[in-house]
Symmetry: C2
Subunit: 404 residues, 2 copies
């Protein structure tokens, strides 16, 4: 009998950001004269850097000629980009990652969502709480998470690792044994970072317990303090237990260009099975490569010009982060993040619920943020603001919050 995937139907309500967008739309319709400032979703706003624009134009010109035309890309991505990634993001940091362990894709969201597919349905996942919803939702859709308790917002078969002010927003090692551990540092949504020593503990734990870590490094370019790991492969033994996922969205403004990559070391196994081969099979069967012109744009990210321009772009956003952080502090808010990450995580005043604070901020300041509870139960009474707005909007938002 024709039947829908019943696991899809388990997903409660609509996606967090859809609800946020809906509330924003309703407010805007009711208040047409008030400009809403959106510091909610993690979309960047600054134009693509000139070095990347130049590379795009050049690649487009190539595609219009017989000699320069490029059809299907190689399954794992073009060698020029895989080489640049291995050289700049790994070798230069003393990490051992070879180009053929780098899988170029159309972005980290897809990779984060699809990676669970190469594992057995009975594998148990552990996630930080709060957490980027894609990790959990894609496992729900695969039937891996058990039963949902609407009241607590908790799935019966997911191991939650609370991240709160008490533990500095870095999780403790889990009490129950997971098979797959999702970690993201610098963290979305809390903006927390992790030290190399702490990350090493996770690598050791995974190796001792036969677990795999899926390490989301989408925000590594925002690390400003020395001594913090930019890659999990800076830790000893990580090649035996870790998959790392990278994005070009936040370090280079590619949210609308779509480019990312995933690293799977050759020696990483589940039982006797090399995970590299499984992911290669997925790429070969369900994916057809990132566009040539976008991969050329990715290459420009690693050029001297590109690096210099992107350093400025990140500094621009991090000035916003620091303005929000210091501004809110001066107003008496309890604020976290914003130092090594483009996210500011604040405690709601007067122990307001996250959604109550969302409504108050929208109604009184015309500012949209993201309710912490949308990222998981431990996000309740917290709230996320992003540093990805323009300087003017960020300043105006702070002014309005101060006045409210």
């Amino acid at each position: 009998m024709l039947k829908a995937n019943q696991d899809y139907l388990k997903l409660p309500g609509s996606y967090l950001f859809s609800t946020v967008a809906k509330k924003q739309r309703e407010y805007q319709e009711a208040n047409p004269d008030r400009k809403v400032i959106r510091l909610s979703i993690g979309d960047v706003t600054q134009p693509i850097a000139p070095a990347i624009i130049k590379a795009l134009h050049e690649a487009v010109d190539e595609m219009g000629t017989e000699e320069g035309f490029h059809g299907y890309a190689p399954d794992l991505g073009y060698e020029f980009l895989r080489n640049a990634v291995a050289e700049n993001d790994y070798k230069a940091r003393g990490c051992e990652v070879s180009p053929d362990e780098v899988f170029i894709s159309d972005g980290a969201k897809g990779d984060c969502g699809n990676i669970q597919e190469i594992f057995d349905k009975d594998c148990r996942i552990a996630v930080c709480d709060p957490v980027y919803p894609v990790y959990v939702d894609t496992n729900v859709m695969a039937g891996r998470t058990g039963v949902y308790d609407e009241k607590s917002g908790v799935w019966s078969d997911v191991i939650y690792m609370p991240c709160t002010a008490e533990n500095g927003f870095t999780p403790e090692l889990p009490g129950q044994k997971p098979d797959i551990i999702y970690l993201c540092f610098p963290n979305n949504p809390t903006g927390a970072s992790i030290t190399k020593e702490s990350l090493q503990k996770w690598v050791d734990y995974a190796n001792e317990n036969g677990a795999v870590i899926i390490y989301d490094a989408a925000y590594e370019a925002y690390i400003s303090e020395a001594g913090l790991p930019h890659s999990i492969y800076e830790c000893e033994g990580a090649r035996n237990c870790a998959i790392e996922i990278h994005s070009f969205s936040k370090n280079a403004g590619f949210t609308g260009l779509r480019l990312g990559y995933t690293v799977i070391p050759r020696e990483l196994k589940a039982g006797d099975t090399a995970l590299h081969a499984l992911w290669a099979r997925r790429h070969g069967t369900k994916y057809n490569g990132a566009p040539y012109i976008v991969q050329k744009a990715g290459l420009a990210v690693y050029s001297d010009e590109g690096k210099a321009q992107l350093k400025e772009q990140i500094a621009y956003y991090m000035k916003n982060a620091s303005d929000i952080r210091e501004g809110l502090k001066a107003m008496g808010y309890e604020v976290y993040g914003g130092v090594n990450a483009p996210y500011i995580w604040l405690k709601t005043p007067g122990n307001l619920s996250s959604w109550d604070f969302f409504d108050r901020l929208l109604e009184n300041a015309g500012v949209v943020g993201t309710p912490g509870s949308g990222f998981g139960p431990s996000g309740e009474h917290y709230f996320r603001l992003t540093a990805f707005g323009s300087r003017e909007n960020t300043a105006e938002a702070l002014k309005r919050i101060k006045e409210m």
Copy 2:
């Protein structure tokens, strides 16, 4: 316990086209002076049309400005493109498809591979034999196909619908009842087309039996004869039983740009579940939209200039198809396809196996094609050539085949 997806491990050997590429590489290394001509995989070779190149440049310029910058695309694709699709590919053909039933994606291969995910694992699939390997392989990876018999190349839980010279390469209605039926017309690999009357029979069958048809229309632009359906929605009742998948790869040379779309009518259901909502959920959770610049390029496909240029491009490839078809016929080959499709499907001479003919063609003519048996058991003793080469290479290939 950490365990790999066991269904992935059921996939036999390597992907068809990888084996073809490997044999080609080995031959080229052994014969460095002989230029190998590749008429195997369905990759196009002509440069992107000027109207599309222009649109790409303009969109790239936009991305470099504060006002023109585009971040994350809307989940279902930009309205401008969904409107153009609904208008040109449907309304103009008298089909009822609204823009919000069009899901823009990064290509038909991904959609063909991912669409099975919205159905229950126990749904039974039916495929033509021979068939585009992605339909079967992605169902294998989802655990939907039972046990593989290596000798016959057949999966125990798949319903095969043989397409041979005897039935004009259009399948009979299946003896067993399927839940999901994959159809592709004009067909890859056989190059066969289907009449509207025959397709209507399939639509009626699906509606009577509660099955869904996944209709792959990737090659519809190559239809040259009047009266053949360009879309399954030309058939009455198709909105209640059919999903249609389109590509920009073959009609507009987008193999290296990546753009496609899938149509799911609002009324299409599996039991009580609207499939439109499930696919929207998949898009929202595991995908982040096709690049803005590529969607703008897609829009240019529907401009007057774009249409005129692409008509010429298709005519170029179809001249190749006709040259191959007539050339081989004159040499005494039994040849099919090549009239409404860019594929030529030939019977191997002397009842040679497909792989034996592959080896003979490579060794004696330095020409690479695709063994029919790679597309399924009924493809044995057949062979596929594509019309996507350059005019010069196509002529040279024919000359060499004649001399061999």
